[in-house]
């Protein structure tokens, strides 16, 4: 059991400075090449959106943050000196912007009442009807577990959440996370450890597939 687990990401070596691809793209962006802008969006708009969404758990805010991130990227590309990868740089901006958005929400939006329909209610007919899950039970279980995980992530201390999301969802190495969050490697390890432990504890009382109803075929008596 443990052996298969340890195969994941063992002895990873990751680039922590900009590679030639990054430098070429940055140079093209500085030159105002249209393809460079297109390439930057193609490479990073989805990861930046995913990261913002996982840090904020709010689609609308995540959209605003992503726009702000790319505005800063476009306007500050001249100041990118290649001391980190382009990915790390953009993720760092995203984390900072998400942090600002969270702070703003904490200050201003606590007393607001949501008027928009929930994400579940606003889903299109096709999204509601289409069911590609292997079985109804699996789908329900998976959805419930995902909802619990989302809720647990939302309740997690933002400092730990940043580290866990960057590691387990965005798949960044410890070095990249350290550069993104501008903290030491030891701090990164500590935050990931504490974040995972906090998540595990929150989910411990939740759904457990193994403990759920099991139907065992028996001959009729």
């Amino acid at each position: 059991m443990a052996t298969s687990i340890l195969d994941l990401g063992l002895d990873r070596t990751t680039e922590v400075v900009a590679d030639s691809d990054d430098l070429r793209l940055v140079e093209a962006l500085r030159g105002g090449a249209e393809e460079a802008y297109e390439e930057l969006l193609t490479r990073f708009q989805q990861p930046a959106y995913t990261l913002a969404l996982r840090l904020l758990e709010d689609q609308s805010e995540a959209g605003d943050v992503v726009q702000e991130v790319f505005l800063k990227v476009f306007r500050n590309i001249a100041s990118f000196r290649g001391q980190s990868t382009l990915k790390t740089w953009i993720y760092r901006i995203t984390v900072n912007e998400a942090h600002n958005a969270r702070r703003w929400r904490f200050r201003h939006k606590r007393r607001e009442v949501e008027l928009d329909p929930s994400a579940e209610e606003s889903r299109s007919f096709e999204e509601v009807v289409a069911d590609r899950a292997p079985s109804a039970f699996e789908a329900v279980f998976d959805r419930e577990r995902r909802a619990m995980l989302d809720a647990a992530l939302e309740q997690l201390n933002p400092i730990f959440r940043d580290a866990v999301v960057l590691r387990d969802i965005m798949d960044l190495s410890y070095e990249e996370i350290a550069k993104t969050l501008n903290v030491s490697m030891g701090t990164v390890k500590s935050r990931i450890l504490r974040g995972r432990e906090a998540l595990r504890e929150q989910l411990a009382g939740g759904l457990d597939k193994a403990a759920s109803l099991q139907l065992v075929p028996k001959p009729a008596e």
Binding site: M1, A2, I5, L6, L8, G9, L10, D11, R12, G32, E34, Y37, E38, L40, L41, Q45, Q46, Y49, T50, L53, R54, Q59, G63, V66, Q67, F70, L71, F74, R75, R145, R146, L149, D150, V164, R167, D168, I169, D171, Y174, K189, I192, L193, R196, E197, L199, R200, L203, A204
Partner: protein
């Protein structure tokens, strides 16, 4: 290795961030300790759940907004790459401020300018618009001197002209006349020649265009030469 230490190392173990000796020790402990094995399993499940968390595709509207943003920023960058473009926002702002400042004065200024043009046109342009049917209006000039007069002559006589300037001959009679504002001879002074009856008649029956001062007829003086007065032929 105690369970507490092992549980601290499970997280870096999952990420492959343990030295080989530590990793062996942790694995050996996990193999013999069910509590730590359960912790490892739970964290591994959590990790795989997090990895499997649906990553919703970026909304089409947001992707479109990002492309518009990129297009605007690219245009902005290209504009700012030239000196003119770099200063364009400042010059635009200055121009706008100046326009806003001048806007309240535009109508009064245009009105004043138009009024001034009309007034000065009326004063300085001769016979502005209509001419007198009699042709007796004085010339509208700042200052004029009496000009050549027309010798009307007595009734029945052919009017002649009075010579001035280079046309004068040595034997011409020269008279300095004082012309009043009506164009009539008010006084005279003989400069050369004698005052004869013919000369006197000619002077008395002559009509001059008076001198003007800012368009108004005034008294003035003019020297005239009378040629062959004795013979009555005037040129």
């Amino acid at each position: 290795m105690s369970c507490e230490n092992v549980q601290k190392l499970i997280s870096p173990l999952l990420d492959g961030n343990l030295a080989s000796r530590e990793r062996e020790s942790v694995l050996a402990h996990v193999a013999s300790c069910s509590a730590c094995a359960q912790r490892l399993q739970a964290l591994e499940n959590l990790r795989s759940d997090l990895r499997r968390l649906a990553s919703p595709a970026i909304p089409a509207l947001l992707a479109q907004k990002l492309r518009v943003l990129a297009s605007h920023e690219r245009a902005r960058q290209r504009t700012r790459s030239t000196w003119a473009g770099r200063f364009a926002p400042w010059t635009d702002r200055l121009e706008l401020s100046f326009n806003n400042l001048m806007r309240p004065f535009a109508l009064p200024f245009a009105g004043g300018l138009l009024s001034a043009l009309v007034v000065f046109s009326l004063i300085f342009v001769p016979s502005f618009g209509t001419a007198s049917p009699l042709g007796t209006d004085p010339a509208i000039e700042l200052v004029t001197t009496p000009v050549d007069g027309t010798v009307v002559g007595r009734p029945g006589e052919t009017p002649g002209t009075i010579l001035r300037g280079p046309a004068l001959a040595c034997d011409d009679t020269i008279v300095e006349l004082t012309i009043d504002e009506n164009g009539n001879v008010r006084d005279w002074n003989m400069v050369r020649g004698q005052m004869t009856e013919d000369v006197k008649n000619m002077i008395v029956y002559s009509q001059f265009i008076p001198a003007t001062y800012f368009g108004y007829p005034v008294q003035g003086k003019v020297k005239v030469a009378l040629h062959n007065v004795d013979r009555g032929a005037r040129s």
